[in-house]
Amino acid sequence: MNWLTLVRVLGSLTCLLTIVGAWFIARRNFARLHQRPEVSLGLTTLPANAFWKLSALAIIAILPLATIAVANYHTFVGIHEVQACSQCHVMRPMANDLHDPGSDTLAARHFKNGYIPTGQCYACHSDYGFNGDLAAKLEGYRHLARYTSRTYTEPLQARTRFDNHQCLKCHRGKTAFERVHMHKDVLARLESSNMSCLNCHGRAHPTRADRTPGSARYSALTKPPVFSEADHE
């Protein structure tokens, strides 16, 4: 059992406890509490008034908050995995291309060469997720609203600039990067994401043309991705 599954079980348990507890609380007639002044808990006894107040606090506040926390944690950690991204079919081309050994996109090359063995999407798009900035979360909310309301059109096109620091965090300082003097020419623009690294280094994912419904590659790119053990490690 991996950590994420454990979190999922824990979340389910807290959720179940909340529901059961809420049911009990809802059925309890608090006016008759005086008929049983104490509640025995085995090791100790508590005044019924205190017990039910504590129970209510746990069920109304603590357990739901715990559930929310665990669920959010699960979501934020879970979306680091490529499986989570490819649950939306518009993301499937990215996942399928990533695993295509014949593809020369940056994503596929990074995967093929072992630079992103896990959390492939998140490795380059880590401005979302648990540690992501507010803007990324707001953008994520917008994506969610668009997706669930089906108010998007394919092929998707990024609305905002990709943050070049996602590239620079690994490449900067490396010999292969530093020896290309053109990088120095435009470093300020790269750092401010004012110029795309893709300009010189090509596509990161399949083209919009390929991701357009009806294109020759559309069916192949949008089939449900098959994940290997490597994706889960």
């Binding site: 059925r27 007639n29 707001l138 917008r142 609305r159 600039r161 020419d185 435009v186 280094h201 596509r203």
Partner: protein, 760 residues
Amino acid sequence: MQNGDEPGIDRRDLLRLLAGVAAANALGVATWAALEALLPKGNADTWTKAVCRFCGTGCGVQIGMRAGRVTDVRGDELAHNAGVICVKGSMLRALPYVQGRLTTPMIRRGGKSSPLTPATWEEAMALVASKFQEAIAAAGPDSVAFYGSGQLFTEESYTANKLFKAGIRTNNVDGNPRLCMASAATGYTQTFGKDEPPGSYEDIDHAECLFVIGANPFHCHPPLHERMMRRKRLHPETTIICVDPRRTDTADHADIHLAPVPGTDLLLLNSMAQVICADGLADLEFVKRHVRFTDGSATIEFDAFKAFLDASYAPEQVSQELGITAIDIRRVAHRFAKAKATMSLWTMGLNQRTQGTALNAMVSSLHLLTGQFGRPGATPFSVTGQPNACGGVRDTGALSHALPNGRVVANPKHREEMEQIWAVPAGTISPKPGLPAVDLFQAMGDGKVHAALIMCTNPAQSLPNSAVQTANMSKAFLVVAEIFADSETAQVADVLLPAALWIEKEGVTGQGERRYQYTPRLLEPPGHCRSDLAILVDLADRLGHGKLISARTPEAVWDEWRQVSAHSKYNFAGITYPRLKALHGLQWPCPTPDHPGTVRRFVEGSDPLVAPGTGLEFYGFPDGKAVIATRPYVRSPEMPSAEFPLQLTTGRVVEQWHTGTMTMRIPELRDGAGPAHIEISPSDADRAHVAPGARLRITSRFGSIEGLARISDRCRPGTLFAAFYDVKLLINRVVADHVDPVSKEPEYKLTAVRLELAQA
């Protein structure tokens, strides 16, 4: 909840609950709406497809704009370049806003020695027209000239060519493509009967052997280099062979680098051909069906061609002079011939040579000998230098010997055809070919050309032997349509006309793979700038040729031009403006509006002009066969001597475009390139006691210049290198101006020089 014994909810609670749910949903939708409105949209509000302003790769770009300004430029992933551009293309965003634009016409009111002063368009154009009329009246039509550029739009070059050849009646129409692509044009024409590359960039994606000779795509055509690297990454068995006297960045990425002695590479090509023939690597079936051999005057048999090679070009015979071992010659010849598909790519290293035509033709001949032609990945591909040298100048025939679509002035039938198409009286087009670039400027010095219009180029910096040629051009009445007032050419102009730049006008460019692409007008030109087309139309009116130049908008000119092409084997009548605006370029031939364009020329199934059933037809020649000629090696007049023991070769760097007039004004590109240096090998530096950064004087038979030394093992001993973008190192002042006898293209790549430390 009621106050009773059992829990429950009443109607009011239900309404409250529903109201709460509705409010929560409304909050969610409101948040979404707010995010849609407020979240940043990157650097631009709108994106429009266009074409890069710089090199002949002709990359598709997307122009991002906000509030009427260009705020971003990205590679167009749907164009042939699949989104890849270079550092120059990335900095296109700064181009419309560079400082120092010429925004008003300028004239010299008091003769040559007086300063240029602002004038109205009316004043300037009236002066231009009167000087041209004066010259024509005094010394005939050949006393005026047009010198254009592979950077004008096609509509502009076409109009200039028509105005001067069918209006003014002079063939003195030439341009800077003479300096870079003329040998490619003559090489193709002599081999296939038609100019322009038969293959496409996408052949890189299929080649198993990439033979790069006389080219440095890493610096000069970076997206093509990236495409080669992509091929290598996906198919590691692909062999990249780089032939270049310098160990360039391209050579660093190659599997095999051969560094010949500058000026000797025809020995390599002939020797490869000898090995191919002698070792049984020739595709005799292909040769039999598709090739005719000639010795330059008569048809010969394959055996005679083989005997020519055996006599002088066996690897052991040429190895010493060539500077490449016989083993390496055999190795590359075998790889070239045996690969499933071999693609050759070359540029100025072969073109800018006194044997440029022979070198170009010989590369194509290697492909014909080995049958490396017409299949995906098998093609001889001359990579072009400028964004519209192919479409704008070679196709329109805007060169002194040429007429549109492969016709030549010297051919009476071709003149007659063009006179009919242009609806001008028989005999209008002069039978006398005009003056090619070097001769044209020399004629200004000789007093034979009195007035000239120069557009979109900077010959005072780019011509070989440029100090002498600048003095020559200053003797003529020089009209220069320019974007800056301080270029080397602008400084000797009598009239400066402020020209619109890049997306300040619309038009079509034809890049190196026969692909026409459309650039939209997205910005207002600054000040009083006008498009070059508007200037030409104005001049036509003032010279009395307004009726001839009846097409006055880019689209009208393009429509006329594509209909002209329908009368030729270039046929691109199907490439209409609406298609150009909608699509990411189309490759000709493309005869009808529903034709998808031609990826591989002369190949049945791809080229609509090939006769069915032929498979492969070189329709440029009556017998449908391509021509392989014997190409004897001739030593360059600029080989080293006791007086001039070193060889200077010139080229580009990735951050700079041509003479740097635009790119030296963009800080990232200026600082990235830095000042130009004279590159010298460590052994030559030791011998001459040259320290890094020392001030050197190099002297050739043509001139002398000082510059700073950069010691680099990229240069082979005996060779110096300098780029030509920097006005502080006007290297072309020492460059030889010998020309190829056929193409008339100068030999920039080879000048014998001597070196000394400059006096402090």
